[in-house]
């Protein structure tokens, strides 16, 4: 069996490592650093119906072992993404996961249709968890009924597998996971950022213009692993894990907790080569810890008690 390959709904991954949405743009910039086809997949920046400008600046701030961002879903709009960004990415032999966002259920449906019709992406990632836009987005991500609804309607507008991206800013993440599974989600991606704030002592107000921002980076890794561990026991659909991944050991922690594949987000900013580096080092780290393939790791922390007979990879 191949050491690194993982098969997920719609995604035939040569390895389980992909850049996370919003941290890799549409791949152009990173294609100057390495061959994008080395990646397991690429999760591209959120697409909305219309072009969005996003929030005022400053949009990012550094925090202890992490950062805040409040980009606000800036993107060129789904038409331009389909017309210009996807053709560029399709040059490379790598599956594309398109991140779908909006303010209303109709927005999600429309973006989904256009992305599906393009025949240029392998799967959709439903962003119901962006904490940085005033309307929409975040409510879908914190109310199981709304999440059910938007997932179900999205599924009606596409034949592509749908991964729903969960927000960690909830009391019970398993309720969210169960709701979207019931609505037909093919997989989950988790976690999005934790809502946070930093003060500017000189200006005596929040440093980020949007006031709050999404916390990412190693700071949130323990929360991500806990939530993936909880959700793995609650649903049968596979999980793409993310939140603070910086090393191959981190990847194994996520997989033990229950992730079938992982995404690397803000660490790309620190080290533009991080994804191919992790992919290269992963086999050695696996072997060092006594595993011969990533399959053996997935959900490993549940092995003793885990009743689930589903293979998630």
């Amino acid at each position: 069996m191949n050491t690194l390959a993982v098969k997920l709904p719609g995604l035939d991954l040569k390895n389980p490592v992909m850049p996370a949405s919003g941290c890799f743009g549409f791949g152009r910039e990173y294609s100057e650093f390495y061959q994008l086809s080395e990646l397991g997949a690429i999760m591209i920046k959120a697409a909305t119906v219309e072009q969005r400008y996003g929030n005022p600046t400053p949009r990012v701030a550094e925090t202890a072992s992490g950062m805040l961002n409040a980009i606000g879903l800036q993107n060129p709009g789904v038409d331009q993404i389909v017309g210009e960004e996807l053709p560029f990415l399709n040059q490379y032999d790598v599956p594309i996961v398109a991140n779908v966002a909006g303010s209303t259920v109709e927005d999600y449906a429309q973006v989904t249709e256009k992305l599906t019709a393009s025949n240029r992406v392998s799967a959709l990632e439903l962003n119901i968890s962006c904490p940085n836009v005033k309307e929409g987005g975040v409510q879908f991500g914190t109310d199981p009924d709304l999440a059910y609804n938007v997932t179900q309607i999205t599924k009606q507008h596409t034949h592509l597998p749908v991964y729903v991206k969960l927000s960690p800013n909830v009391t019970d993440i398993t309720a969210m996971a169960r709701a979207v599974e019931a609505a037909g989600a093919d997989g989950l991606s988790m976690i999005n950022t934790l809502t946070g704030m930093k003060m500017d002592l000189h200006k005596r107000e929040p440093l980020i213009a949007n006031q709050t921002g999404g916390l990412s980076g190693p700071a949130i890794k323990p929360v991500a692993i806990r939530m993936i561990h909880e959700v793995y026991r609650s649903v049968k659909i596979p999980i793409i894990g993310m939140g603070g991944i910086e090393s191959t050991e981190d990847i194994l922690e996520f997989m033990l907790a229950g992730a079938s594949a992982v995404a690397v987000g803000s660490a790309n900013f620190k080290n533009p080569y991080i994804c191919p580096q992790l992919i290269k080092e992963l086999p050695a780290t696996l072997h060092e810890h006594g595993w011969s393939s990533v399959h053996e790791v997935i959900g490993g922390a549940h092995r003793e008690n885990n009743q689930s007979s589903v293979s998630r990879a």
């Binding site: 941290c23 990173y30 400053p58 990012v60 993107n75 620190k270």
Partner: protein
């Protein structure tokens, strides 16, 4: 071509109050590097984000870049403690600099404020190399903050402005801009946003270039952290990728 490299610190010294000159050597130092481009520096593993710093001078023969920076927060403070011989994780050179090659001018006005002065030095050198006459107006808070005055003087006329008048003339850079027709053909400015706004308003009748600052994530154009509104607010430019140098009419300050 943008690269990530562990560059070696060759020189590191104080040039003014809390202001340092850092000379780093590495393979990324290959032509072309334009004045106004920057490097994105990871000070140490203690930090999660890189810091953008302008390229203040280049020596291709030695493979070195000169950076001039002010200690303003934790990152620049930690940077100031780095010793000669240590390495620094540098991503760059990045962005679009001032367009020296394509220019067809005789007299240039350079207007710099505080830590906006560094990129103008490499620009001044490039311009004078090309035969363009350079006049500089450099603004600082007080006399202790003044740096590189002599370096600029070696390349052309210099007027120093300080907020308190403790060196040069008292006032802002906008109080020190040359007057009269044909004083210069084009201006080039770098400094805080308020200064750039004032300078570009006052010099609206001249063609010019300004270099803008914003907090950055990736520093390479992927994260949309560093945008500035453009096209009467409907569009945007990425400072790290499309800039930091823009024509004032391209962006909305």
């Amino acid at each position: 071509m943008m690269k990530q490299e562990l560059m070696t610190i060759m020189e590191h010294s104080t040039v003014a109050k809390d202001t340092y000159m850092l000379v780093i050597q590495g393979e990324s130092v290959a032509p072309p590097i334009d004045p106004g481009q920057f490097v994105h520096v990871l000070v140490s593993r203690d930090f999660f984000l890189r810091r953008p710093l302008s390229i203040a001078d280049v020596n291709f023969a030695n493979g070195t870049l000169t950076l001039l920076y002010k200690e303003l927060g934790k990152g620049t403070q930690a940077l100031s403690l780095k010793q000669v011989g240590e390495t620094l994780d540098v991503l760059g050179p990045g962005g679009q600099g001032f367009p020296v090659e394509s220019l067809n001018i005789e007299k240039a006005l350079l207007v710099g404020g505080g830590i906006g002065v560094p990129p103008l030095y490499y620009l001044a050198k490039q311009l004078t190399d090309k035969g363009v006459a350079v006049e500089s107006v450099l603004g600082f808070q007080t006399k202790e903050d003044v740096f590189y005055e002599e370096h600029f003087r070696a390349l052309g006329e210099v007027r120093v402005m300080t907020n308190d008048g403790s060196r040069g003339d008292k006032g802002f850079v906008t109080d020190g801009l040359p007057e009269g027709e044909e004083a210069f053909d084009m201006y080039f400015s770098c400094g805080p946003a308020v200064m750039l706004k004032a300078v570009s308003d006052q010099l609206a009748s001249y063609p010019g270039y300004i270099s803008i600052e914003e907090r950055m994530g990736c520093g390479i154009g992927a994260c949309f952290a560093c945008v500035v509104p453009a096209d009467s607010g409907k569009g945007y430019k990425k400072i790290c990728r499309d800039g930091p140098v823009f024509r004032p009419e391209e962006v909305i300050l």
